[in-house]
């Protein structure tokens, strides 16, 4: 069956409208997760784009029962893929152990301070901390995602918490 050009245009506009609606409903959560995992607004923006491009490529994405959990998994995998790719290219040291910058002491309940200190954590420690303490992932799940032993995740988590406490104290 042939489709007239005007109909095709109208359909593609409908699809874009629907996609924008889906994006508006979900992007703030995906972006927040990417932002905390990467600690960088531009990298988070690029990762968010990657997440929604993956969504766009997926058939029947609207039929997935738990869109939120599904998107979170894509976001986490996207950020981890990008981190692995950067490591392969040698852009990020394997053991990035930068200490958190010395911020002016601030109360832990100050949300912005907390966000900033989390963003300043070393990459691996930050990802584990965000996944475990903010997103509620289990140690075993994080170990599977990162492709490391559970003990490694646990020690990264303890290190991240310790650095966080030091920076906030």
């Amino acid at each position: 069956m042939s489709v007239k050009p005007t109909e095709k245009r109208a359909r593609s506009q409908d699809v874009e409208e629907a996609f924008r609606t889906f994006y508006d409903a979900n992007a703030p959560r995906v972006y927040a997760l990417c932002l905390r995992l990467t600690g960088d607004a531009v990298k988070a923006g690029e990762a968010t784009q990657d997440v929604f491009v993956r969504v766009w490529r997926t058939d029947h994405y609207e039929e997935r029962g738990r869109v939120r959990g599904w998107l979170n998994r894509i976001a986490v995998n996207t950020v981890l893929d990008r981190a692995r790719a950067a490591r392969r290219r040698g852009w990020v040291p394997l053991e990035h152990v930068a200490e958190p910058s010395a911020h002016t002491p601030a109360p832990a309940e100050d949300r912005l301070t907390l966000e900033r200190v989390i963003a300043d954590l070393p990459d691996g420690a930050r990802r584990v901390l965000v996944l475990h303490d903010v997103q509620g992932y289990r140690i075993r799940e994080i170990a599977d995602l990162e492709g490391v032993a559970e003990g490694t995740v646990k020690s990264q988590l303890h290190r991240a918490r310790h650095l966080l406490q030091e920076a906030l104290s």
């Binding site: 489709v3 095709k8 245009r9 359909r11 593609s12 506009q13 409908d14 699809v15 874009e16 409208e17 629907a18 996609f19 924008r20 609606t21 889906f22 994006y23 508006d24 409903a25 992007a27 703030p28 959560r29 995906v30 972006y31 927040a32 932002l35 905390r36 960088d40 607004a41 531009v42 990298k43 923006g45 690029e46 968010t48 784009q49 929604f52 491009v53 766009w56 490529r57 029947h60 994405y61 609207e62 039929e63 869109v67 852009w91 832990a108 309940e109 949300r111 907390l114 966000e115 989390i118 901390l129 303490d133 903010v134 509620g136 303890h158 918490r161 310790h162 966080l164 406490q165 906030l168």
Partner: protein
């Protein structure tokens, strides 16, 4: 009370739900360790209470739209054409459509621009063919201006990470684009409804968004 206090690891194990009789006995007797435990618990509560959502900057959507349109164009040119159907869930939900209006107008503007280009740049504009009404054209320009401003801010913050030669080349490209935008804008003040000028302005802004996106990406890859 024991002579030694709990290690940070024992405290973290405790907040993660590991029950160790020795730790419990120590906590029952040691006030400083109980305080440390409470501090860690408060910290974890603060993290768990961080907002789940952060508004994404508009440049993310603009770049995303470019990418999915490129994919759609590739799909359409594939030998077995498949028409993407509207997702069921999304057919019901209409939230966000108003926010999308400006972007859709922009899409219309770019679409018409492409049509004009296909018809040949010297062909006269068809009678009565307006790109969009004044208000929607202005709205679409506002979207571009917000996006380029946000990207330019990010780029300015990071430009120092680029080699001087790259910085100069980018500054020159952006300067050229700004001059082109200013020129078209000036022409539009004399002929505000000219569809070809409107399309050219949209295209120039679109190009500027692309250049800025690429520039910002370069700073993250250094």
């Amino acid at each position: 009370m024991s002579a030694h206090h709990l290690t940070p690891q024992q405290i973290y194990d405790r907040v993660d739900g590991w029950q160790d009789p020795e730790t419990e006995r120590h906590l029952a007797e040691c006030v400083p360790c109980r305080r440390r435990l409470e501090e860690v618990e408060r910290l974890l509560e603060s993290m768990a209470a961080l907002p789940e959502e952060v508004d994404p900057p508009e440049w993310i959507w603009i770049g995303l739209l470019d990418r999915v349109r490129a994919e759609a164009a590739k799909e359409a040119s594939a030998p077995h054409k498949t028409v993407r159907r509207i997702p069921r869930l999304l057919r019901i939900s209409r939230r966000g459509l108003y926010r999308a209006a400006a972007v859709l107008v922009l899409a219309a503007a770019v679409g018409v621009g492409l049509r004009l280009r296909r018809e040949g740049s010297h062909a006269p504009a068809p009678a009565g063919m307006a790109l969009a009404d004044d208000a929607s054209f202005r709205a679409s320009l506002e979207v571009y201006e917000r996006a380029t401003a946000a990207l330019a801010r990010t780029f300015d913050e990071r430009a120092s990470e680029l080699p001087p030669g790259t910085r100069e080349a980018l500054a020159q490209s952006l300067g050229d684009l700004d001059r082109a935008i200013a020129g078209v804008r000036k022409a539009l003040t004399e002929q505000p409804d000219h569809p070809r000028l409107q399309a050219r302005l949209s295209r120039t802004y679109q190009w500027k968004v692309k250049v800025l996106e690429r520039a910002v990406r370069m700073t993250t890859e250094m």
